[in-house]
C-alpha cells in the first residue's frame, strides 16, 4: 500500500521534474501534442510508450541514487581547510558494498528486461481474430509508394487506412534503405532492397498521422514525409472504390518515380505487376526479383537536387 503510494508520488515527481525542465527549455511548453512519442494513437505505439515510461522511471530511480551519493561525496569531502569529515586514505574495500553494486542493479534490470522481452514478442504478432488490411510499401528516392494488393490501387506519399483495424505494411525498397515510421502509430522498420519486412500498426481513432523516414538516403531524404489518414471502415471502403476509377499507374510512371526527385501526393487506380516483389514475380527471400533488378535498370541516372 505504502509502496504504491510512494511509487505514485515518486512518479508524479519525476514527471513534474521532466515537465518543468521541458517547460523551461521550450518557452513555457509542457508535453503538448507535438511530443508525438508521448501521444500514441494506436495499440502498438501505446505498448511501446508503456515500456519506455516504465524503463524511464526505473532509470530515474538509479539516477537519483547515484546523483545523491555523488553530490553528497563531492560536497562533504572537499579538500578545504577545516573540513571535519573523516579522512580514510586507505579505505579500499568493503565486501557488502562491492557485492551489492553488482546485485542491486542486476535486480533492477530484471524489472526492465521482463517487460522488454514480453512486449518484443507480442509486437511480433498481429492481434488474433482481426483481419488486417495489407499495404505494400516501397521506399523510392525520395518518396513513398503505397500499393494495396487486394484493392489494386496505389498512392504516393500518403496512405489511407481504416481505424481500429490492424494494418500489415509489407516494406521494401527500390532505392537505398529507409525506415518506415509513423511515430503516433508505432515504431519504425527498415525498408531494404531485396527484402520484404512486415510491420503491423493500428490506429485507435480517425485522424491524420504524419510519418517520416529515419534512415538517411540522400539529398532529398528530409522531404520523405508522408501522411497516414485513418478513417472509419466505411469511408475506407468508399475511398477504395472511388480511387479504383482513378488513372492507373503505368510502367512509365513507375520509371519516373524511380528517378531521384521529390514529388507531391498522387493516387492511382491500378498498378503494374512486378513493381512490388512478390513470389509471383520471381521474388524469394534469398534472391532477386525487384523491378529494378529484373528489368536490369541498375545505374539510374543521377539528378542532383538543387537547393529546393
Amino acid at each position: 500500500m505504502f509502496a504504491q503510494r510512494l511509487m505514485e508520488s515518486y512518479r508524479k515527481l519525476v514527471l513534474a521534474a521532466l515537465a518543468a525542465g521541458a517547460g523551461l527549455l521550450s518557452a513555457g511548453f509542457s508535453f503538448g501534442p507535438k511530443y508525438v512519442l508521448l501521444h500514441p494513437a494506436g495499440p502498438v505505439a501505446k505498448s511501446e510508450l508503456h515500456v519506455f515510461i516504465l524503463a524511464l522511471e526505473l532509470m530515474a530511480i538509479v539516477a537519483v541514487i547515484v546523483l545523491a551519493l555523488f553530490f553528497y561525496a563531492i560536497v562533504r569531502f572537499r579538500d578545504t581547510a577545516g573540513n571535519t569529515a573523516p579522512y580514510t586514505p586507505n579505505w579500499h574495500s568493503h565486501t557488502l558494498l562491492e557485492v551489492s553494486v553488482w546485485i542491486l542493479p542486476a535486480i533492477l534490470l530484471l524489472f526492465i528486461a521482463i517487460p522488454t522481452v514480453k512486449t518484443t514478442f507480442s509486437l511480433a504478432h498481429l492481434p488474433k481474430g482481426k483481419d488486417p488490411v495489407v499495404i505494400d510499401v516501397t521506399s523510392l528516392t525520395w518518396k513513398w509508394l503505397f500499393e494495396y494488393p487486394k484493392q489494386h490501387i496505389a498512392t504516393v506519399n500518403y496512405a489511407v487506412i481504416p481505424a481500429n483495424r490492424p494494418v500489415l505494411f509489407e516494406l521494401t525498397a527500390d532505392s537505398p534503405m529507409n525506415t518506415f515510421w509513423v511515430p503516433q502509430l508505432g515504431g519504425m522498420e527498415y525498408t531494404m532492397p531485396n527484402r520484404v519486412l512486415p510491420l503491423w500498426l493500428e490506429a485507435d481513432k480517425a485522424g491524420t498521422y504524419w510519418g517520416h523516414s529515419g534512415q538517411f538516403s540522400g539529398v532529398g531524404f528530409e522531404k520523405m514525409f508522408f501522411n497516414v489518414k485513418a478513417v472509419s471502415q466505411k469511408s475506407f471502403q468508399t475511398w477504395t472504390t472511388t480511387t479504383a476509377s482513378a488513372h492507373p499507374m503505368t510502367l512509365a510512371a513507375y520509371d519516373r518515380l524511380l528517378k531521384q526527385t521529390t514529388v507531391g501526393d498522387s493516387t492511382y487506380g491500378n498498378y503494374p505487376a512486378d513493381t512490388f516483389p512478390t513470389l509471383a514475380s520471381g521474388f524469394s527471400l534469398t534472391g532477386s526479383g525487384m523491378y529494378m533488378v529484373m528489368h536490369d535498370k541498375k545505374g539510374i541516372s543521377y539528378i542532383p537536387m538543387v537547393g529546393s
Binding site: A124, H125, L126, L168, R195, L197, P198, L199, W200
Partner: protein, 126 residues
Amino acid sequence: MSESEQSITVDEAYEQDNDKSIKFLRPRFHAEAFPTVQIFGYVGSLVLTFAAYFLVMNHVLPVLALLIIILTLAALQAALQLGVFMHVKEGRGLAWQIIPLYLVFLIAFGMVGMSIWIMLFKSGVS
C-alpha cells in the same frame, strides 16, 4: 646482440615472469630427437582431410549430420596444426598467446553462427 650471450633456460625465464601464478600459461617445449611429432601431424592431417572428403562424396549420412561431422573434423585438424606445428605453448616466460587464441576462436565461431542467425529473417508477422 650483446646482452643475450648468457642464454637463459626455460625455467629461469619463467621464474622471472611477474605472473607466474597463472599456471596454465606455463610454456612447454617439445623434445625433438626425431621429427616423430611432425610426421604424426602430417599423417593425421591427411587422414582427417580425406576422411571428410570421402564421407561427403559418398553421402553416407543426412546432410546436417555430415555438416556437423566435417566441421568437427576441421576443428580437430586445426587443433592438430596448432599443437604440433605451431607450438602454441611455447614462449619465453608465459605463453600469453593462448588466451587471445581461445578467445578468438570463440568469437570467430560466434560471429559466423550469430550472423547466420540474424540474417535468417525469422520475422514473419503471423
